[in-house]
C-alpha cells in the first residue's frame, strides 16, 4: 500500500508561505487594529483636547490648528487647563485624596485578603474550590448594587444605627454614610476579591515542604511565615495591590454614592467637570494628569504580567 502521506504532492512553496503569513497576520492584526482604533487612538484625542480651550458648541472645544490671517498654519496650544489643575486647590486636593484613599484601601484589602487567601490554602482540598467560588461570587453580582447595599446599612436610620440604638449604645444616629469612612469601606468591599485571587494563586503554588524545611532548620512558625511565606508570595502581593490600587484611584461610583461633599476623588471630579460643567478640556486635562499618575503602576503591572507569563 503506498504511503498516503508521501503521495501528497508538495505545494508550490511561496504560495504556501504566503498563505501561512496571511493566516498568522489576520490573527494578530484584527485585535491590534481594534485596540489601536478604540483604545490607543482615543488617548491621542484626549491629549489634543486637553490642550484646547472650552467653547460653546458641539464639540465644546477649540481647534488646535487654525489658519492665521497671513495664511500660515497656526498651532495654538493652551496649557491653561493644566495650570488650572495646578492652581485650583480643588484638583490638587482631589488628586492627593484619591491617592491616599486608594493606598489606604489597598493596605486594608491586603490585611483582610492575606489571611483569607492563606486560610483557603490551609483547608481541606475539597473545600478550596467552593471557598474560592464564594470569594468570586459577589464579583459576578452587580458592583453598583453591592455598593448600594451599604447605603441601607450605613445611613442614619440604617441597619447599624438601628442596631446600636436598639442596644442603647448610642443615643442618636452616628453619621456613617457620606463620610470618608464609608468610602474606604466601599472600596475595600468592592475590590477585596481582586486582592484575594492573585494572593491565593501564588500561595497555593508554594511548596509546603519549604515550611517544613524552615521548621527543620529551627525556624519558628511565625518567623517562617515572615521569612518564607511572605517573600514567596510577593508576586501575588504586588499583583493584588496593583489590581486594587490603580482602579481605586480613579473610582467614581463609591465616592459618589457613599462619600460626602468633602470626600473628593479625582474620578468624581472628572465626571462632574464632564457631565455637570460640560468643560471637556478641563475634564480631559484631569484625565491626562490621572494617566500620568498611573503610568508607573500600570507599566509595573504590565512587566509583572509578562514575567508571570514567562515563568
Amino acid at each position: 500500500m503506498p504511503s498516503p502521506s508521501s503521495s501528497k504532492p508538495a505545494k508550490p512553496l511561496h504560495a504556501l508561505r504566503e498563505r501561512l503569513r496571511l493566516g498568522r497576520g489576520t490573527v494578530a492584526v484584527v485585535p491590534l487594529l481594534w485596540l489601536g482604533l478604540f483604545f490607543g487612538l482615543p488617548f491621542l484625542i484626549i491629549a489634543r483636547i486637553s490642550l484646547s480651550e472650552v467653547v460653546i458648541g458641539l464639540p465644546p472645544y477649540s481647534d488646535l490648528l487654525s489658519w492665521a490671517e497671513d495664511g500660515m498654519l497656526q498651532l495654538r496650544l493652551n496649557f491653561a487647563n493644566f495650570m488650572l489643575l495646578w492652581q485650583d486647590s480643588l484638583y490638587l486636593d482631589a488628586f492627593i485624596n484619591s491617592l491616599r484613599v486608594a493606598a489606604t484601601a489597598t493596605l486594608i484589602c491586603l490585611l483582610i485578603g492575606y489571611p483569607m487567601a492563606l486560610g483557603i490554602t490551609r483547608v481541606r482540598e475539597s473545600l478550596r474550590v467552593p471557598l474560592l467560588m464564594l470569594v468570586i461570587l459577589p464579583f459576578w453580582t452587580s458592583f453598583l448594587i453591592r455598593i448600594y447595599a451599604w447605603i441601607g446599612i450605613l445611613k442614619g436610620n440604617g441597619l447599624i444605627n438601628n442596631l446600636l440604638l436598639g442596644l442603647g449604645l448610642i443615643d442618636e444616629p452616628l453619621a456613617l454614610l457620606h463620610t470618608d469612612f464609608a468610602v474606604y469601606l466601599g472600596i475595600v468591599y468592592a475590590y477585596l476579591p481582586f486582592m484575594v485571587l492573585p494572593l491565593y494563586a501564588t500561595l497555593s503554588r508554594m511548596d509546603h515542604s519549604l515550611l517544613e524545611a524552615a521548621a527543620d532548620l529551627g525556624c519558628r512558625p511565625l518567623s517562617a511565615f515572615w521569612r518564607v511565606t511572605v517573600p514567596l508570595s510577593l508576586p501575588g502581593i504586588v499583583a493584588g495591590s496593583l489590581l486594587v490600587f490603580v482602579p481605586a484611584v480613579g473610582e467614581f461610583v463609591v465616592p459618589d454614592l457613599l462619600g460626602g461633599p468633602d470626600s473628593l476623588m479625582i474620578g468624581k471630579v472628572l465626571w462632574t467637570e464632564f457631565f455637570n460643567n460640560r468643560d471637556w478640556p478641563v475634564a480631559t486635562a484631569v484625565a491626562v494628569a490621572l494617566l500620568a499618575l498611573l503610568v508607573v503602576p500600570v507599566l509595573l503591572f504590565e512587566r509583572f504580567r509578562e514575567k508571570e507569563q514567562d515563568a
Binding site: L35, A149, P221, T284, F301
Partner: protein, 268 residues
Amino acid sequence: MMRRPSLVFSLLAFGYAFLYAPIVSLIVYSFNESRLVTVWAGFSTKWYTSLLQNEQLLGAAWVSLRIAVMNATLAVVLGTLAGTALVRFGRFRGRSALALMVGAPLVMPDVILGLASLLLFVAMEQLIGWPAGRGMTTITIAHVTFSMAYVAVIVQSRLVRLDPSLEEAAMDLGARPWKVFFVITLPLIAPALAAGWLLAFTLSLDDLVIASFTSGPGASTLPMVVYSSVRLGVSPEINALASIMVGLVTLGIVIAGVIMQRRAADAR
C-alpha cells in the same frame, strides 16, 4: 501561623461575613412589606410584583442584556485572537503594542476608558459621520474594547499551560494550521473561552461609568437606570432586582459546579 490555625480561620470567617452581610441584608429587605429599610413590617413579595411592572427597569434590562451578549461574543473572538497571537507567535512586529493594549484596560480607571471612548466617537462622527449619534452600538464597542482584554488574559494563561507539542503533533499528522486551531486548540481551550464569555458578559452588564459616557438618548442600560434611582435613596424595588440577580448568579455557578463535577467524575 500553622500552630494557630484558629487565628487564620477566624480571619477567614470574618472576611466572608464582610463579603456577604450586605448581600444578605439586601435579600432580606427585598421581602419587607414597608418601603423603609428601618422597619420590618412583615413578609411581602410586592416589590417583586412592582419590579415586574416597572417598564423603565425592564426596558433597560433588555438593552443591557442585548449589549452584554453582543459584547461577550465579540470580546471572545477578538480576545482569543489576541491571546493566541501573544502566546503562540513568538516575536512579531506590534507584539509589545498588543501586549500593552491588552494589559492596560485591566487596570485603567473606568472614567478614563469612558471619556476616551466618547471623545473618539465624537471625533469619528465629525470626521466620517460614523457612528451617527451614540447608543447601543457605541456602548458595545466601548465594552468590547475593555472586556476583550480580560478574555485575552484568560486565553493567554490557558494557552501557556497547553503543551505546544499537541499542536505540533496535529500538524505532524497532516493538519494545516487553521485546522489545527479548530480541531485541537479550540476544543482544549473551550472552558477558558466559556469563562471569558461569562466574564465579558458580566463586565458589560455591570458597567455604569463607561456606558454613561458612551450612551446616547434612548439607550439607557440597567446600571444607568439603577444608578439614577439609587441616587434618590433606597428603593425596595432595587432590593428585589438585586436579589433576583444574586439568585441567578448563584444558580449559574451551582449548575456550572455540578457540570464540572460530573465531567471530573466521568473522566475517572
